[in-house]
Amino acid sequence: MQSNEKEVLLSVKDLKVIYTTDGCMVHAVNNVSFDLNKGETLGLVGETGAGKTTIAKTILRILPDPPAKVLNGQVYFEGENILQIPEAKMRKIRGNKISMIFQDPMTALNPIFVVGDQIAEVILLHENISRKEAEIKTMQILEMVGIPGERYGEYPHQFSGGMKQRVIIAMALACNPSLLLADEPTTALDVTIQAQVLELMAELKEKLNMAMIMITHDLGVVADICDKVAVVYAGEIVEVGTKEDIFDRTKHPYTVGLFGSLPSLNMTEKRLKPINGMMPDPMDLPQGCNFSPRCPYAIDACREKDIEFTEVSPGHFVRCIRAEEVK
């Protein structure tokens, strides 16, 4: 999709994931494609239930199957389709080359093991070193995320939420991954801690030169740390481009709506402008453009057939036939 002289690290092509429940098919991810270069940060933005987490878990192949099923598509990581490789080989990638930070730090740590052991576990799994060395390395990593190494032997319940998220970040970074999937890492934290954690992540990303997929519904976070942004709606990427493309040259009506529902400091109106209507039922997606029922620009042609991506400027793709008219 993007012709760049930089090296492509991850390339997702035509990914389609469904969940089956009681015979119903939930279309969670529909034909998602994107590329990510080394050291780059991609923001996946969208409402709750848009399929962002499913995309991340598909990349790591940790979706529960059943009910989830990857219907088609490829995920190329360092040139290899990791949806096809055997599980044993995938395990070598998980936590090592690709790792993930989860949404809720309160529940993402095993409550009955000390945090140090949980971090050392990743190191021991992927690196051929002794326990003692792993312990020492764990303490260094803890220090790196701002936790004193002496807290190695403490249990998760002895840490605050922000500290737990730091532990999880430490765990994810323990083996210097080349790709980090961050699934709403700040959603469960309060605002001041959010800022700290984001700053830490941006700093470490720079230091370790990894690529990152930042899943969020917070456009402020995106503006802070992402290079590229993909806007996800009902399991589909509706607009993708550089941060500047998305923020300054918005082309898709849904993205426009997202910004419209954001409060701003210099706003004169008393009320926010939410997008009318609800996300479509993923069991029963509308014909044609998924956003058409809520779209102020929708015309009959929108509802006839699936909308293709069009490149409005180099690297800026939009899934809308009236993109040029959108303001």
Partner: protein, 325 residues
């Protein structure tokens, strides 16, 4: 932790005194004069009076209760049977080990059978493996253990002649009673393990463990199982409690000379003082067992442990998990 255990042990004193008081009062107010029963219908009132005096039955309630407690708790003497004049403490001491053997072995066996089935069910939820093992669990729970016991002795003792049907003279005698109790227990434990495993394997930290690249076996047996153990331990603990106190039916079926059969025969012959002694011993065992279960909780779950601990910071042992663990 030690402080907590001592506290719990001290708490046992009022519990045991309360149990003693209750059992003593119930039997005190139960109609029927042990002396008259002992001497038979043709005894003269003088003789009965004499025996009542000898057994201290003419003392007031408070005096009798006080004497009983003094003898039981300070001299470990539960009195003499009204029926055959033997020391109850000695009778219980010679029988209780048999009950203990049956109880512990059968619960151990139940865990050994039940837990793997429960884990397998949970990991393969809604597949044929799950359905088959849950069907067996349901069968196990639904079959009364005395009936299973009878069927087992019919097959293995009578038909095949592999194992002795009654008595308690050695390990081969333990098999049938233990297995018949364990089958029901295994069903219970399998169902409990399944439901608590199902809850745990949906937790985020299990996904975290998978995302680390950990093998599925380790995820299940290391990360999930320990978290799922607490309800299983509760079930096993109460199973053990039931077996210690009331394995009456199983003991009766296989003629195991345990505390259950002793209590039943004591009740039949209105040997109230023997009943009283047995109940007391069972109550004490039960409280100790529950204490052991609570300590086991703390050992498994550090969150529970931290509630018991004083504010003093304890230095945790650094212990790395992973490859060889």
């Amino acid at each position: 932790m030690r402080k907590y255990i001592i506290k719990r042990l001290l708490w046992m004193i009022p519990v045991i005194l309360g149990v003693t008081f209750l059992v003593f009062s119930i039997l005190y107010f139960t109609p029927g004069d042990p002396a008259a029963i002992k001497l038979g219908a043709d005894a003269t009132p003088e003789k009965i009076q004499e025996l009542r005096e000898e057994w201290g039955l003419n003392d007031s309630f408070v005096v009798r209760f006080g004497k009983y407690c003094y003898n039981a708790f300070l001299k470990f003497d539960l009195g003499k049977s009204y029926f055959n004049n033997r020391s109850i403490s000695q009778e219980i001491a010679s029988r209780y080990p048999n009950t203990l053997i049956v109880a512990f072995l059968s619960v151990f066996l139940a865990l050994l059978i039940g837990m793997p089935f429960g884990i397998m069910s949970a990991v393969n939820q809604y597949t044929w493996k799950d359905n088959v093992s849950m069907l067996f669990a349901l069968l196990g729970v639904s079959m009364p253990s005395f009936w299973v016991g009878l069927m087992l002795s019919l097959l293995f003792a009578l038909k095949l002649g592999w194992l002795p049907a009654t008595g308690f003279a050695g390990p081969s005698y333990w098999v049938l009673p233990c297995v018949s109790i364990a089958l029901a227990g295994a069903g219970n434990i399998a169902r409990q393990t399944r439901s608590s495993m199902l809850e745990v394997i949906r937790q985020d930290y299990i996904t975290t463990a998978r995302a680390k690249g950990q093998t599925e076996g380790k995820v299940i047996y290391y990360h999930a199982l320990k978290n799922a153990l607490i309800p299983v331990i509760t079930t096993a603990g109460s199973l053990l409690g039931i077996q210690l106190g009331g394995a009456v039916i199983a003991e009766a079926v296989f003629a195991v000379p345990g505390i259950g059969t002793y209590m039943v025969s004591a009740i039949k012959s209105r040997d109230y003082i023997a009943v009283q002694g047995s109940v007391l011993v069972i109550a004490i065992t039960f409280s100790l067992l529950m204490l052991a279960v609570d300590i086991l909780y703390a050992y498994i779950d550090p969150r529970i442990k931290s509630k018991y601990q004083s504010k003093k910071k304890e230095k945790h042992k650094v212990n790395v998990v992973g490859k060889e663990a």
